[in-house]
Symmetry: C2
Subunit: 680 residues, 2 copies
């Protein structure tokens, strides 16, 4: 049986990898088609996107099969054309976003937002299976495609992690894996890695994301967590590459071909430092704006009209983006163009390579970044699936490209300045690569928003292929995190966890001034305790178990109230219900007595029901004068839900995970302000 | 003070990064010079290596300044030339290796071997400061250069990690960091990452090595461990790149320029699978041979003649390597050539690119690999600093190149076979890149020997720059680890830890058949316990503390022998010695009574010495019927040294880390067979 179990576990892992690879690829295809539909259609087949429609042409041949809506509908006046295009563009945005919101609100409210805060909490022990239901899987995937295609300022990365976890959970149900919570978490960790792997085409980045952001190591020191994540990631990436949704047969999404192989020069560290500081400051600003927007939404009338909110904001986004030329295309296309070096053979993206339009371009880039910050701060939290990675990358890339253009302009204006002496004397050779500055800017901005380090660097260079430039990327991430940490200590996911008050313990050593557990524990007199034999009959005990909402109850016995153990309420209730209804002499059972004391039932001739097997056998008992730091440390490291305190065998108190979460989140300004919403 | 402390910590971190970067660069320079010295010398300056000696020439110009020894000494007969060259080659090998061994044996016995098993143990709580002494630092660095230059089959990677840790430890002493064991470990973790970063020019790989192999996450869930490792790694890599010992201004050591950018074809997975299996099998074989050699050395007369052993083996290695042409150069040069694609402009390395010499080359490569396996199995464990990474890479690269050549030969012989249909029809375009096969082979072999996964992949592509081929590397590492794990569960470092019986707990969930702690604990009657007031005077207590060798003792008091706490013996001894000698009324103190019971000293009017502050405040007390799995889990996760068991306030038993180490190492065939050597 263990071999069969292990084989089934591996089957689920492999299928999850395959499934999320295929799902990710088809999502890309769907998004591309829906996105292109906002501009026009293919004359010979409605379901072709622009690239597929125009494929098979010789170089230089003009694509006549793809028509914009005004061409297709034969509108000839220029005013009519632009009005029609803008109208269809915005109308479809509203339609897509509205459908996504309706789907989410109606069928799967848990499918909104990114999902990463919840996955983090689940991986650290929060039991929240509704979050991983098949409905959520379906709605999140479908809604994600609609939301991305609608042009709202959001990405698909976080939601893909959620989709991947839902898929793994569904598969583990289908193959009837008999697993406990800990095994379930390990499976989800591997699935999460695969999700990132597919989202960025970054198999290593996926594993590291699991390690760093999801703390998959913290809940288990087993190397097989890392190992499974690695395997799932690889399988997902292979199946994505096999399907090859972009037709490039490459995993690298935004290749910075121009910059790779070039060396960089020491003076460039100055603009890169600047970008790192901008990343830290703007990243923190984005987190604050987003938290403020979420709290405002929660406490205002908007909260009752989620679909209307999404529809109006999609209209606003569509209108604004149609005006700002860089925002009109999909965010991924914008990022790809910003990362691309200027190259005469590849065409110029909206005049970005025109050296005479330097100030115009810089202004436009900073405007784009500013608009994107505002749009993203509001969007991330609406009732649609939404990831924050891609918008953040776009914001950072805009700043980066702007700084790169300025530096390049400076160097072209003063080629003989001493600081530029390391540039090649031949002015026709490029010295500064603004495309790579965009990469640095994106990395710094991601560092400021997510506070990740290692996984970020890996994702960035798996995204761009800029391996030779790993040091500048690392330095900018380091500085950006330093700056951001000085301005506010939590990353965006941690802020959301604190706002929703999920039972998630932030890592990091807890320091206090020598408190003991006694100062935080609920003392025994204030606890609801089960006294052995106190409600006399099983029926009364069942009523008691139904009446309370606690996770579990300490059980005491005897005249001295000696601590016997801890019983999980749900387990007790289920057992007693089975005992009183399903068994043949259920009604009789309901009247019997009961005991938790081991051996007492047998000693009493079986008159009383023996509940001793229900007791939690691993119950830790500590003395109440144990240092609080040690208790916090135990909760952090060992994934406990509660610790009992006893003195000479008598219960003195109880500390639950919730107590520790409150303790560790006390510093967070918005702590708990979104708690108790639908997503509980 | 906390700010100043933090600033000093960061200063130490930055200086460690800088220092190890500089040290690594100079080691490279030294090794290169010593290595070249075995073949000849520079006419205009003794201290120039061959590349430096011949620099500044125009392309095509012949370097006349560098002379082989026979040229320099004007030996004209061909027989005389080859005898002289061989003689000097072997004599210098003996001299270098002998000096390294003498240095190690005389001044710093802890400087032998790789150091990684010890660092692993230290990072998991083993206190072993002698291993990090300044002498060890000096001797290990110097001895490493000599050992590598001597041509012994060893690499510099593991020892550099050790050197880096020694450096961090020294700096923390110089800057008087007031730190406890846990902070020391965090610092060492960062230093270890920097060591790998410099050894491979792989800043990310360093961080991941720390994570995966050294379990830096397991002992602390603090993200600042990752973060500090990241910063140190970057600084080390930057300073290495700044000094630029190879004059390439690149971090990438073995660039596989030919393969990058090429796509790979699905049929290539077959030879790669084969390589992965070879890697797993040969890797495990190498581990077994190495363990057997170490045990044999320990139990034979060789053990008493370490320098003689090194000298003889260096002579043997020199003689064998002089005969096998691929082994005559330094291992790093061999690897660089094996990773290199054939390119008409770059010259042919010993006829490796000659298609007519296919079978000759394959035979030579497999012979090289086999010789290298035998040499490495014996070398890794002699009394010289020695890393196993580079030899393993070389072995794997030989196999890989051989398989690559065979595949290429097959494709050239049958270009029209259906399996090769994905190759370009034009035969002049390369379809199969044997250089990249060597990379795959090296990755697979490393996987088999070290059982690392993620960090290995990162190191491999930071080493080679083959980012576009990350998937094949990942797949081969996955398969190789699968195969190797099926043949034997521990990697080379874990085997050495078990052989030396370091107090290191293997990660991984411990499963048993429902045992409780009672079955492993030493019961109270068998324990040496300190009874409050039992040796009457402080002097007697001091004698007691000096007489025992335990780490610490449980303290009980009162008629009921109630458990009061746990006292660390060394702390008690130091305190009592200070009390009886340094204080003015020391002699009087020696006669006073003492108590560990809190408040008892004050209650007694200060007549007795109050030892309560010495008690370990964080002492965990568990009940003896707690499941053994939970206890093992607590030891693994919380870095405990001992757990006390009590029942109703009375001591029932004690479990120490050593007990758990014995329990978890029971399966290892060579467990403890090297324990109790000089390195204890």
């Amino acid at each position: 049986a263990p071999v069969a179990d292990s084989a089934r576990t591996w089957l689920v892992i492999v299928l999850t990898g395959l499934g999320i690879g295929v799902a990710g690829a088809w999502l890309d295809v769907l998004v591309r088609w829906l996105g292109d539909l906002r501009e026009g259609r293919c004359t010979y087949g409605f379901f072709y996107n622009q690239v597929a429609c125009c494929s098979g042409l010789d170089p230089g041949e003009v694509c006549t099969e793809w028509k914009t809506w005004s061409e297709y509908l034969r509108v000839s006046s220029i005013l009519g054309q632009s009005l029609l295009q803008a109208w269809i563009y915005i109308a479809l945005a509203i339609m897509f976003a509205g459908s996504a919101a309706v789907l989410v609100v109606t069928y799967a409210p848990y499918a909104f937002h990114t999902g990463i805060p919840e996955i983090k909490a689940i991986l650290r022990g929060y039991v929240f299976d509704a979050f991983l239901s098949p409905w959520t899987l379906l709605i999140k995937a479908l809604g994600l495609a609609l939301a991305v295609a609608s042009g709202l300022s959001l990405g698909k990365e976080g939601p893909l992690v959620h989709v991947s976890c839902c898929l793994a959970f569904l598969l583990s149900r289908i193959f009837r894996l008999q697993h406990n919570e800990s095994q379930k978490r390990k499976l989800l960790a591997a699935a999460a890695a695969a999700g990132v792997s597919v989202a960025f085409g970054s198999p290593l980045g996926g594993v590291l994301f699991g390690l760093e952001e999801l703390d998959t190591f913290a809940f288990s020191n087993e190397s097989d967590v890392l190992w499974r994540g690695f395997v799932t990631s690889v399988i997902a990436a292979v199946s994505l590459q096999y399907i090859d949704p972009f037709g490039t047969s490459k995993l690298v999404l935004f290749e910075v071909s121009g910059a790779v192989g070039d060396t960089w020069r020491a003076f460039e560290l100055i603009p890169w430092m600047l970008l790192a500081i901008v990343g830290g400051v703007v990243g923190t600003l984005l987190i604050r704006l987003n938290a403020a927007a979420a709290v405002y939404r929660r406490n205002s009338a908007i909260h009752d009209w989620p679909v209307l909110e999404v529809v109006s904001f999609a209209a606003l986004t569509g209108a604004v983006c149609y005006l700002v030329v860089f925002l009109r295309v999909q965010t991924s296309e914008l990022v790809a163009n910003l990362f691309q070096e200027c190259d005469a053979t590849k065409g110029d993206y909206h005049g970005l390579c025109n050296p005479t339009a330097l100030w115009h371009n810089v202004f436009l880039l900073i405007l784009t970044a500013a608009v994107k910050v505002l749009l993203t701060a509001w969007t991330f939290g609406m009732m649609v699936p939404a990831g924050i990675f891609l918008p953040t990358i776009a914001i950072g890339a805009c700043f980066g490209r702007a700084v790169g253009l300025l530096t390049q302009g400076l160097q072209r204006a003063y080629p003989d300045a001493p600081i530029f002496s390391s540039c090649p004397p031949d002015a026709s050779i490029r010295c500064i690569s603004p495309g790579f500055y965009a990469v640095v800017g994106a990395a710094a901005m991601l560092g400021g928003v997510t506070r990740m380090t290692v996984s970020l660097v890996v994702i960035m260079f798996e995204l761009t292929g800029a391996l030779s430039h790993v040091l500048p990327i690392m330095i900018s991430v380091v500085v950006s995190k330093w700056v951001a940490d000085a301005l506010g200590r939590d990353g965006i996911y941690t802020v959301w966890i604190a706002m929703r008050r999920y039972p998630w313990l932030p890592p990091g050593e807890h320091r206090d001034s020598g408190q003991t557990a006694a100062q935080i524990m609920t003392p025994a007199p204030d606890l609801v305790v089960l006294r052995d034999g106190a409600p006399r009959s099983v029926a009364e005990l069942l009523a008691f178990a139904r009446a309370h909402r606690f996770h579990g109850l300490p059980v005491v016995a005897g005249e001295d109230d000696m601590l016997v153990g801890f019983v999980v309420r749900e387990k007790l209730r289920a057992y007693l219900e089975r005992l009183t209804t399903e068994e043949p002499d259920g009604a009789l059972n309901a009247d019997r007595g009961w005991t938790f004391v081991r051996g007492a039932a047998a000693a009493g001739g079986g008159e009383r029901v023996d509940l001793a097997p229900l007791l939690d056998p691993a119950t830790l008992q500590l003395r109440k004068d144990v240092p609080l730091q040690l208790v916090v440390n135990m909760f952090q490291k060992m994934n406990l839900r509660h610790v009992l305190f006893s003195q000479e065998g008598r219960l003195t108190g109880l500390v639950t995970k919730t107590d520790i979460v409150w303790l560790l989140n006390a510093h967070s300004p918005h702590a708990g302000q979104l708690a108790g919403e639908k997503v509980h």
